[in-house]
Symmetry: none
Subunit: 219 residues, 4 copies
DNA sequence: TCATAAGCGAGACGGTACGTCCCGTCTTTAT
DNA sequence: ATAAAGACGGGACGTACCGTCTCGCTTATGA
């Protein structure tokens, strides 16, 4: 009689997991990264601050960065829920999608400005930087970071830009993937390297140039 | 006549510095970062591989990242010297500048393709990623990295784009700083986050979109 | 009911202590002191030889000398147990006491000769010298050394000499403490300063002179 | 033409030696040993405090303990000179010898009391302990310490006791060497191990017991 | 008399060990 | 069985000194 599932040695039983501990670990991890920075955040520190045994962390995550990634996803999930559930009401858990008012430029400006605000939010800054930096150097973490966090967001741009192309607002043959990077790439560049301040005006400027770049050619 | 600078307590005498050791430290640091990655590169490891006492590292640099930054600058300096002194002949030590054949698009394609090649060069990949990531998280290191390495390169774009604007190839009122980010930002984004492969075709595409985006509007 | 003691910050839990590690540390410490001398015995060396992390040493002892003291007490305890449990059989854990055959001179000669043999035993020489020297210079260690090791031994002399005084073999008014030092002091002097070899003959001579010195005066 | 003397490689020229530096080194060494103890006295510390290069120390001494030994001999020499040149007048540099008033007990009491005073003198305490301890553990240093400092002093006892024996105050067949240790051994024992305070009364007691121990037996 | 070579101060160097902080694993006790 | 607690073997940290090795700078001859 085989066991229900392959279950490698030492696979913990997720149904018995303490929700209380998980929450405390997320909170401690995010707080420490914000307060002392990623490098000086330690697993022991997280455990101690969360009032949790070290093993409880190692049982569920393989590394400090993995803890932080989950903590960050949790935070981002909450933030998304808040944004969604705010003025609009109960829309359920499905992805929100970019606004589509028909005015592509206006829609993109709104989204890019929101991104600027989020990147400037001190609550997000430290963990986002920490995870991005870690992903730059650790391909595996980077892949997870991109897949679970970045890619879903970028897909929204792809959808909106594809719709715009079908509406004739974007030239045929333009890869939406590249188009989106024309907007997001410069923003990320400024933010990561701190070469210039990130402002709404900058977001507007990017939208203008990028849209001209991918607009249909006349004649 | 006053002394050049105040000299804080315990400032070592740079004139007595061992050039031999410095070189060995640079080589060891770059080799280790490439071989085992930044996180598993240790000061002890660098010292041991360089055949140097740990104190000789701590005497001249405050941290692992500072060592690597100098090692990298040294490497970049060599590489620049090589590129300069190669086919073109003796041009002296002044900065090279971007090519200006009059064909803005062609010039930018050439430069962006060269950047793609460099980012794909395994000799540069690991240290560049390591320093960028460290700079993302450590503002001070980031500032030095940007100032001493990135900024000079970006200035070349500014110069070339300004010249192009005066030649009427770029619309009046376009900030060259922003224009340049339209090119470099997406490239960096792909490379750092590994979302898509970096190719010459991508570089060409970026040049095309960006130039259209900042081209003069026809009345 | 109050707790036994206040428990300073960072007091490890002794009940969880690894007996295996403690033994290995004792053995390594004694071996190293004997082989390479006290000065060149290092905490790192002990840890490495014992197959133990350094922290396991620093968790339980504040210094190299403290480790050695405990190792030595352990050794002395074993040796005492062996001596006791050897020919005589099961006498239990109580202190042995000096022999009392009625012949004071013979008893003291026996004990002093045994002391000479122990001081000449290469297994004891190095650690005894090391601890004595350290105690000479570090009053706190010296106090512990004296209290836990020397004092109990000296007390045996006090007891025997007091008994002898009551039997009329020692003059009234003689402080047994001083009397004992007349025997032990010269022995220690020779051994510590290596001025002359330590022999049984020397022990006998000391007993003779000292006993005459403290004998009852006739009339 | 052969060189004047075999002169191993790097034998410094003693005639050119800086007296100023030697004095400064002695002073610094003694001061540091007194202030921070032997273990925390370092060659670098001595050099720095003496305003001297490290090499100047290593040129003339092989080790910290050797420096301290010379510093101590210098100090002892001064002290001896002071004691000599004081009330008594100009006796020249030859060794003083123990007093010989004919009253052996009185003479020994005087000398032992002086020894007690010296051992209690804070100026001597730290360096004497340091050198003794070092000699206990390092046979070579110990031998030099004994030979150059202790032995000459003990010889004075030998001389005085030999004279006493010839005067019939000490029993024939008593080894003066052993007799002296009966006096000095207990004193040293108390001082080194700090078992009891060192007082004049104790010195007197020792003299009494020891002299009885070695006195001629009445028929 | 003056170059020249020594001792000297200073301190950089290749090392070793320090005592501390964490890592990730393992074990114990309590819920 | 999970969790809090924390001891364990191990590795790296950044510091303090070790003893050796140049550096310039007196200083004191001896050719």
């Amino acid at each position: 009689m085989p066991e229900p599932q392959a279950a490698s040695p030492r696979t913990p039983d997720a149904t018995r997991r303490s929700e209380r501990s998980r929450r405390a670990i997320y909170d401690a991890a995010l707080a420490l990264v914000t307060e002392v920075g990623y490098a000086r955040t330690t697993v022991e520190g997280i455990a101690s601050r969360a009032g949790v045994g070290k093993q409880t962390i190692y049982r569920w995550w393989p590394s400090k960065s993995a803890v932080l990634l989950d903590a960050y996803l949790d935070l981002a999930g909450q933030a998304a829920g808040d944004a969604q559930g705010g003025p609009g009401g109960q829309d359920g858990p499905e992805a929100p999608g970019l606004p589509d008012t028909g005015d592509l430029a206006a829609d993109l400006r709104a989204v890019l400005r929101a991104t600027v605000d989020e990147l400037n939010d001190p609550r997000f800054e430290a963990p986002t930087r920490a995870l991005t930096a870690e992903g730059v150097v650790d391909p595996e973490l980077g892949a997870r970071f991109v897949k679970r966090l970045l890619e879903p967001q970028l897909q929204l741009y792809v959808d909106r830009l594809t719709a715009a192309r079908e509406a004739g607002q974007v030239r045929d043959g333009v890869d939406p993937r590249v188009a989106l990077e024309l907007l997001v790439g410069p923003l990320t560049h400024r933010w990561l390297l701190r070469t210039r301040p990130l402002t709404h005006a900058y977001a507007d400027e990017l939208v203008e140039y990028a849209l001209h770049g991918i607009a249909p050619r006349q004649a």
